[in-house]
C-alpha cells in the first residue's frame, strides 16, 4: 500500500518546501514529517519521499541510514533514550539503564512485547548539568532518581491512548 500524508501534515509539507532554494534540502524535515505519522521510514515512506522531492530512493535510503533518529524498522509506541555519555555516566546513567532494562523486561535496543516501549541509549543529549537523564518521546526528564524512572515507565506501559 502506498503512503499518503494526512491533510494536516500535507499543509506542513508545503510550508517546508518554501524554506529552501531546492527540493533536496527538504529531505530531512519531510522524512521526519512522514516518520511522525508512521513511526518509521518504511519502504512505502522511502518511495513517497523520493517521488515528492524528485530524488532517487537510493539517496533517501542513504540519508535514512546515516542519521540515528530515522527508524529503519518499526519501533514501539513510545521511545525511551537513556543518555550514556560521560557526564551522565558520572552521575549514574549505567544504573538508570540497567533499571529500565529490568523494569521493562527487555534489553537496550529492544521493544516490549506489547509494542508499547522501545528502549535505547543515546549519546550526549546536551543535558550534562542535569544528569542522569532520559528522553521519552519528545520530552527530557532530568536529574532522575530510580523512583522517578519507575513513575515514568509505569505511565508509558499503562498508557492506553494511541500516540
Amino acid at each position: 500500500m502506498s503512503f499518503v500524508l494526512n491533510p494536516e501534515r500535507d499543509e506542513k509539507l508545503r510550508e517546508i518546501l518554501e524554506r529552501y532554494p531546492n527540493k533536496m534540502a527538504a529531505c530531512i524535515p519531510v522524512m521526519q514529517l512522514a516518520q511522525d505519522q508512521t513511526g518509521w521510514v518504511s519502504p512505502e515512506v522511502t518511495d513517497w519521499v523520493a517521488e515528492t522531492l524528485d530524488l532517487s530512493t537510493a539517496h533517501i535510503l542513504g540519508v535514512a541510514t546515516f542519521y540515528s533518529l530515522f527508524n529503519t524498522e518499526p519501533v514501539g509506541q513510545h521511545q525511551v533514550w537513556v543518555c550514556r555519555t560521560l557526564s551522565c555516566a558520572l552521575n549514574g546513567a549505567d544504573t538508570v539503564l540497567a533499571h529500565c532494562e529490568k523494569r521493562l523486561g527487555i534489553r537496550c535496543g529492544q521493544t516490549t512485547k506489547d509494542g508499547k516501549v522501545t528502549l535505547r541509549t543515546a549519546e550526549c543529549l546536551a543535558s550534562c548539568g542535569s544528569g542522569p537523564m532520559m528522553q521519552v518521546d519528545r520530552a527530557y526528564h532530568e536529574n532522575l532518581t530510580l523512583e522517578q524512572v519507575d513513575v515514568i515507565l509505569d505511565r508509558l506501559t499503562t498508557d492506553s491512548t494511541p500516540d
Partner: protein
C-alpha cells in the same frame, strides 16, 4: 578572574523569559534596527573589535570569519547558525534557545546584514524539541512586528528570513561542512576544503557558519560597542574578548551554566561556581567538551621561557590559568566550548576514557578510513583493558593508532577523537599500566559515585 556578567542570561529566571515582551523591555531589537541602517564594512569592523572567539569550540575570531565573505557578489549569501550542540559535557547553547531565543533572532538579523545574507538557517539537533519550538515562536513574534521579512525595520533592499532546520541525530553534523551537507538534505559527511564555506558553502553559495552563542552575543556587542565588549575579558590583550557561557558537570556539587567574563579559571569554575568536587578530591578536568584533552589536578604550568605566552603563570597550577583559546592551547588542550567535565578521585580514568572512545566509535561518520577503523580499534582495545584482558603491548598500540588518525582525515573529528585519547594515556599512564597489570583490581571503581542520587539498584 571570576567576574559574573548577565548580558546573555539576564532574562533566564523570568517567567516565560522567551517572550518578545521581556526581550523588548530590556532594549531588545534596538541594535538590529540600528545595524540594518549601517554599512556592511562598519558592521564587520565592529565585530572584529569585539575579539569574539567562536563559541563552538574552535575559537576562530568571528569578525575575521565575517570578513572572508565576498564583498560584492550577485550570488545569494547564507548565514548558517550551528546549534547542533552535542559535544559531550556541553549544555550551554540549549539554555539560550530555550530561555532567550529572541537574542538569537536579533543576532541573526545583525549577522545577515553583516555578511550580506538574506536568509539564515538555524541548524538545531533533532532531540531539542523545546528549543526548536521556542525559536519558531520567536521567529513568528518577530515577523509579526515587522523585524523579519521583506522590509525588516522598514529598511528597503535587504529582506531577512530566519528558518529553523532540524538535524536527525548525528554528532558529526556539528562539524560545519557536514552540517552544510545535512542542511542540503544529504548524509552529514564532512567536505574537503577548499573551497571554504565563504567561497562555496550552503547550496554552493558564500556562507558563514557561526555557533549559536556567538550569534546570541551580537546584540550585546553592538549595544556596548565592540571594544568595550572585548574589554570585559581579562584576556583582551590576547584578543580573546567579552563574556561567555561556562558550564560545569560531572562530579561537582552544583553543576550548571554560568555567564562570566572571559578569563575565568578552572579552579573558579569548579570550586566557586560548581560548588566544589563531589565525593572526593579532584582527579582531573576535561576543560571544554570531551574532545579537549584532560588536565590533571596536580599539573603545573611549565613556561620558563619569557617569550612563552603562558610565562606569567609559570610554576602555577593549571587550574589557575584563565580559560582562553590561546592559554588552553598553551597547556596542550583547548578551551573548546568552555563546558568542563569534572572527575573526582573516585572515578576510574580507564573507564572514563572507555566511555569516550565508545562515543567516538559510534559517531565517526565512516568516510575516512583512519578515523572509522582507528576509532573502532581503539574502542575494542579499551574494552579489553576494562575487562582486564589486554596486554601492555595493546595499551601501547593505542598510541600508534591514535597517532595515525591525527592529520589523516578530512575533518577535525579525527583530531578531536585522537587528542583526548592521547591525553588520557599521557596524563594517566601509571593508572593505565597498573590497571592492565592487575586486570582492573587497582581501579578505584566505576564512574558514578556510590552515593549518587540514592541510586542503589537492588
Amino acid at each position: 578572574m571570576l567576574k559574573r556578567t548577565d548580558y546573555l542570561t539576564k532574562r533566564y529566571g523570568l517567567k516565560e523569559s522567551w517572550k518578545l515582551s521581556h526581550y523588548e523591555h530590556d532594549g531588545g531589537y534596538r541594535q538590529a534596527r540600528r545595524v540594518m541602517r549601517m554599512k556592511r564594512e562598519d558592521i564587520v569592523e565592529e565585530a572584529k573589535a569585539a575579539n569574539l572567539r567562536g563559541r563552538g569550540g574552535a575559537g576562530f575570531p568571528l569578525g575575521v570569519k565575517w570578513g572572508f565573505m565576498p564583498p560584492k557578489s550577485d550570488k545569494p549569501h547564507y548565514l548558517v547558525v550551528n546549534a547542533d550542540e552535542g559535544e559531550p559535557g556541553t549544555f550551554k547553547d540549549r539554555t539560550l534557545m530555550e530561555l532567550d531565543p529572541h537574542a538569537i533572532i536579533e543576532g541573526c538579523i545583525i549577522g545577515c546584514r553583516g555578511i550580506g545574507a538574506n536568509t539564515a538557517y538555524i541548524y538545531v539537533r533533532d532531540e531539542l524539541h523545546l528549543a526548536k519550538d521556542r525559536l519558531w515562536g520567536a521567529i513568528a513574534e518577530a515577523k509579526k512586528k515587522g523585524y523579519l521579512g521583506e522590509r525588516p525595520f522598514s529598511v528597503n533592499n535587504h529582506p531577512v528570513e530566519v528558518y529553523v532546520h532540524s538535524g536527525a541525530g548525528a554528532y558529526i553534523c556539528g562539524e560545519e561542512s557536514a552540517l552544510l551537507n545535512s542542511l542540503e538534505g544529504k548524509r552529514g559527511e564532512p567536505r574537503l576544503r577548499p573551497p571554504f564555506p565563504a567561497q562555496a558553502g550552503a547550496f554552493g553559495m558564500p556562507t558563514t557558519v557561526n555557533n549559536i552563542e556567538s550569534i546570541a552575543s551580537m546584540p550585546t556587542i553592538f549595544a556596548l560597542g565592540g571594544d568595550n565588549f572585548s574589554k570585559l575579558s581579562s584576556l583582551h590583550d590576547m584578543r580573546d574578548g567579552g563574556c561567555r557561557l561556562f558550564g560545569v558537570s560531572g562530579h561537582v556539587k552544583t553543576p550548571g551554566v554560568f555567564e562570566c567574563a572571559v578569563g575565568l579559571t578552572l579552579r573558579e569554575l569548579i570550586y566557586e561556581l560548581g560548588g566544589g568536587v563531589a565525593g572526593g578530591e579532584l582527579l582531573g578536568v576535561i576543560p571544554g567538551g570531551c574532545s579537549t584533552p584532560i588536565l590533571r589536578a596536580d599539573e603545573v604550568v611549565d613556561a620558563a621561557g619569557e617569550a612563552d605566552p603562558l610565562h606569567r603563570w609559570h610554576g602555577q597550577s593549571v587550574l589557575d590559568v584563565p580559560i582562553g583559546v590561546d592559554t588552553m592551547r598553551g597547556l596542550g588542550t583547548m578551551a573548546g566550548t568552555c563546558c568542563a567535565i569534572v572527575l573526582s578521585d573516585k572515578a576510574c580514568p580507564v573507564r572514563a576514557m572507555h566511555n569516550l572512545v565508545r562515543f567516538y566509535r559510534h559517531e565517526s561518520c565512516g568516510q575516512c578510513t583512519p578515523c572509522r577503523e582507528g576509532n573502532g580499534w581503539i574502542e575494542r582495545i579499551t574494552s579489553k583493558i576494562v575487562a582486564g584482558e589486554a596486554s601492555l603491548d595493546e595499551l601501547n598500540r593505542i598510541h600508534e593508532i591514535a597517532g595515525n588518525i591525527m592529520g589523516n582525515t578530512i575533518c577535525a573529528f579525527g583530531e578531536g577523537s585522537a587528542m583526548p585519547v592521547l591525553g588520557f594515556l599521557k596524563k594517566f599512564r601509571p593508572e593505565f599500566e597498573e590497571y592492565v597489570r592487575t586486570g582492573g583490581t587497582s581501579s578505584p571503581g566505576g564512574l558514578a559515585l556510590s552515593e549518587t542520587l540514592g541510586l542503589s539498584d537492588s
